[in-house]
């Protein structure tokens, strides 16, 4: 048991380091927009550089522009890349979920058309699954596609998607729609790729309670798509979506807010109730210990996952517990910090608040993190069902025609 690379990994890491030293950016791209619009040119340039050297999609086969590498190669590159001031990466969803779906289900010409520009960062993709009435229940899709009456075989899409990350700067998307409401919900769905600049596609940012707007609503009004844009068979959309979703929950990262060490630092510098430092308060010390143990537990769980990858094994179920712990910790730690600051904890102005308001940000962002990519409740269900093998919830919607299903509106 050690934390060392295997000789092969060490060699790969050395090669990556050399390449990064020669090619990675040395200064962070300027930009103040939290949604990353103004750092886009820098993101695009870095993606193109990586693509040219085969580092953009390390695990993809070489014929698609990848490197044919292993997941551990990908992890090693990520670790080394993180030492440089790289720009934001708006390609994750596209390259992690959308384009692989296209590569799996589209014809050769379409794959040829899209793979290169996507890898090189010339085109951005988004994933259009969630709907206002759907939430975790992707198969409840109401956005409709009907065949055009003109006999062209084209489809006309109408409806609304929501929580679409990056839709505001995406060129293409993959969208799941209902093509047959007369069969049970999972059976009447079909997947298409669409041009986000096509007439009838309208993107509206969602204003979050925390102030930002990284997500969007996307409205479709008589959007016409060719039948050739279909991914998989008519009515096979649910199966296609499972391919896409397989990677989603891995893609939603853990909390990145202030952690135990920031709390410890703030406690050291905050007066406690008895005049001494708040860090002397054993109630806060016990919480610190608990948060440290959770954070270390998650870190070492990642190490176990990496070890499995390094040994060429499939990671065990332990990788599913990250967000369920970190999102709740972010909320509780942030709240404990503001309560430690007493009345002053209310102040969110970054020029006045401790750590530029990091704890206040945690309090305001954590509710979103507890929901995005699966609520606490959905994640517990996933652990119970997929990891522990317990039965699924009783389904009342399996055998009912979609149009006959109760839906509340």
């Amino acid at each position: 048991m050690d934390f060392n690379d295997t000789p092969e990994e060490a060699a790969y890491r050395a090669q990556v380091r050399t390449w990064l030293e020669a090619n990675a950016p040395k200064t962070r791209a300027a930009g103040s927009d939290p949604e990353g619009n103004d750092t886009m040119p820098a993101s695009r340039a870095w993606q193109a550089t990586k693509a040219a050297a085969g580092y953009a999609c390390i695990t993809w086969p070489k014929e698609w522009g990848g490197q044919g590498g292993t997941p551990i190669h990908n992890v090693i590159f990520g670790q080394e890349e993180a030492h440089y001031p790289i720009p934001p990466n708006p390609y994750q969803i596209g390259l992690g979920m959308c384009v692989p779906t296209v590569m799996n289900f589209a014809d050769a010409a379409t794959k040829e058309r899209f793979a290169g520009p996507a890898i090189r960062g010339e085109e951005i993709w988004c994933q259009l699954f969630s709907e206002p009435s759907g939430g975790s229940d992707v198969a409840a899709t109401r956005t409709r596609a009907e065949q055009a009456p003109d006999g062209s075989g084209d489809w006309i899409i109408n409806g609304q998607k929501v929580w679409t990350t990056g839709a505001q700067f995406s060129d293409f998307g993959i969208v799941i729609v209902r093509t047959n409401p007369d069969v049970p919900k999972h059976k009447g769905l079909t997947m298409f790729w669409i041009d986000m600049k096509a007439p009838g596609v309208e993107v509206k940012p969602i204003h979050q309670m925390s102030g930002g707007s990284g997500f969007n609503e996307v409205f479709f009004t008589d959007v016409r798509v060719k039948d050739a844009q279909r991914l998989g068979g008519v009515g096979d959309g649910w199966k296609v979506s499972l391919v896409t979703l397989m990677n989603e929950r891995l893609a939603v990262g853990g909390a990145t807010g202030a952690g135990w060490s920031q709390f410890m630092e703030a406690a050291r510098n905050t007066p406690g109730m008895d005049g001494a430092s708040a860090l002397q308060d054993s109630a806060l010390r016990e919480k610190l210990a608990d948060w440290y143990v959770q954070a270390e537990g998650l870190q070492h769980t990642r190490n176990r996952t990496m070890t499995a990858l390094s040994r060429g094994q499939t990671p065990g179920p332990e990788s599913s517990i990250g967000k369920i712990i970190s999102a709740v910790q972010m909320q509780e730690l942030g709240n404990s910090a503001i309560e430690m600051l007493d009345q002053y904890g209310l102040i969110s102005d970054p020029e006045l608040a401790s750590l530029s308001g990091a704890f206040q940000s945690s309090v305001m962002f954590a509710p979103g993190l507890r929901i995005a990519g699966g609520t606490d409740e959905i994640l517990r269900n996933i652990i119970a069902e997929r990891v522990l093998g317990l039965p699924g919830d009783i389904r009342v919607d399996k055998d009912v025609a979609f149009k006959d299903m109760p839906s509340g509106r």
Binding site: G135, V162, I338, E339, L346, I347, P367, I371, D393, V396
Partner: protein, 371 residues
């Protein structure tokens, strides 16, 4: 056993709810939230004054209605339910209570009628920075009747007319009445987690002050005021927490997932049951606080601590799990969930954090059990 509000008090509560439903929809809080220039809803403030609520517990001789504190409790609960964007707590629970507790007849005559009429907004200025401001680290100083120092944050500090300021005089903490409209006072509005309520940094430079209560007794007086405020605030918190439960329940009964309302899933059912349990424990503790406040019982510090701890916990849980129950939509600006979440943080911190009250509670229990 008569441990509940009277029919008259319940009638007043019903009337208050109707009034606030008409005059203080959540759009009122949202308007203050979205407009940096607006520290409170001045129109609502005047309307509330016209209802007589500001003077509910102020004697008739000083322009109030001369009702008891139980009437103030039911009004507080409705204000909390409505996330009312007005300086009610600062003015009524803090300034008016302090003046009634420790003011001279002249001070009462001068201030109480203005408070009751809605002409005087008050605020309590104790905090001077991160952490708990205590007698030992207090910096603001009064010399020859002039105050110098900085108070941050002061809830309603930018909109108040009269401040209650804790400051050192001859080395000992005293509580002082300060005219905040004096030119020597600098007021900087602060960004906080709950912009539906005003907050400011107040800088005093030789500002004239008058002492409230005995010299050197400022900390004890602040504690008395905070006990009273904590009980009344606990009713605001109960009101907010109950409304969060209602919101969560209504949404869960309407929202479908996998072909059935999410209220039919045990994860949601048990979450709402937990909310209910916390809310009821908070309410029962608040009622005991109301009894102690109304009878000026010696148990008040213990009752106030328990009420504040239970109500802070209930509102925090209800406001955050209400968002969680709503899912993604609950995290949007347009939904009202965050108004209650923000207010729950404001109410938990404005009169001192729950952990401070837990320490205070156990200290009092130690003394009581030793006695």
């Amino acid at each position: 056993m008569n441990f509940d509000f009277s029919d008259d008090q319940k009638f007043l509560k019903g009337e208050a709810r109707k009034f606030l439903e008409a005059n203080c929809p959540t759009a009122a809080a949202r308007a203050v939230l979205e407009d940096d220039a607006q520290g409170y809803d001045a129109k609502l403030w005047k309307a509330v004054a016209a209802q007589g609520w500001l003077g509910a517990a102020i004697p008739e001789e000083h322009g109030g209605l001369g009702l008891g504190h139980l009437e103030l409790c039911v009004i507080a609960e409705e204000l909390g339910r409505a996330v009312a964007p007005i300086p009610f707590a600062s003015t009524v629970y803090m300034l008016a209570e302090a003046v009634m507790l420790a003011g001279t007849e002249a001070q009462k005559a001068e201030l109480l009628p203005g408070i009751a009429a809605g002409d005087i907004i008050g605020c309590l200025a104790t905090s001077e920075g991160p952490g708990v401001t205590t007698a030992s680290n207090l910096q603001a100083t009064v010399t020859d009747g002039k105050l110098t120092g900085v108070k941050i944050p002061v809830t309603d500090g930018a909109i108040a007319h009269v401040g209650l300021v804790l400051a050192r005089e001859n080395g000992k903490p005293g509580l002082f009445l300060v005219d905040l409209t004096d030119a020597s006072v600098t007021r900087d509005t602060l960004k906080t987690l709950d912009p539906t309520r005003d907050a400011a940094r107040l800088t005093f430079a030789n500002t004239p002050v008058r002492r409230l209560g005995e010299a050197g007794e400022g900390v004890a007086l602040v504690e008395q005021v905070l006990d009273r405020a904590a009980i009344l605030l606990s009713f605001e918190q109960c009101g907010g927490a109950d409304r969060c439960l209602e919101f969560a329940k209504d949404y869960a009964m309407e929202r479908y997932a996998f072909g059935r309302v999410i209220a039919s899933y045990q994860a949601i059912k048990h979450k709402l049951a937990d909310m209910y349990v916390k809310n009821e424990l908070a309410r029962s503790n608040a009622y005991y606080g109301a009894w102690a406040l109304n009878t000026n019982a010696p148990e008040m510090p213990i009752a106030a601590s328990a009420a504040r701890i239970a109500a802070s916990e209930a509102f925090w849980y209800a406001s955050k799990e209400n968002i969680q129950t709503h899912g993604g939509i609950g995290f949007t600006w347009e939904m009202d969930c965050h108004l209650f979440y923000r207010r729950s943080r404001q109410l938990s911190l404005v009169a001192g954090a729950p952990r401070v009250w837990k320490e205070r509670l156990v200290s009092h229990l130690e003394r009581r059990n030793a006695a």
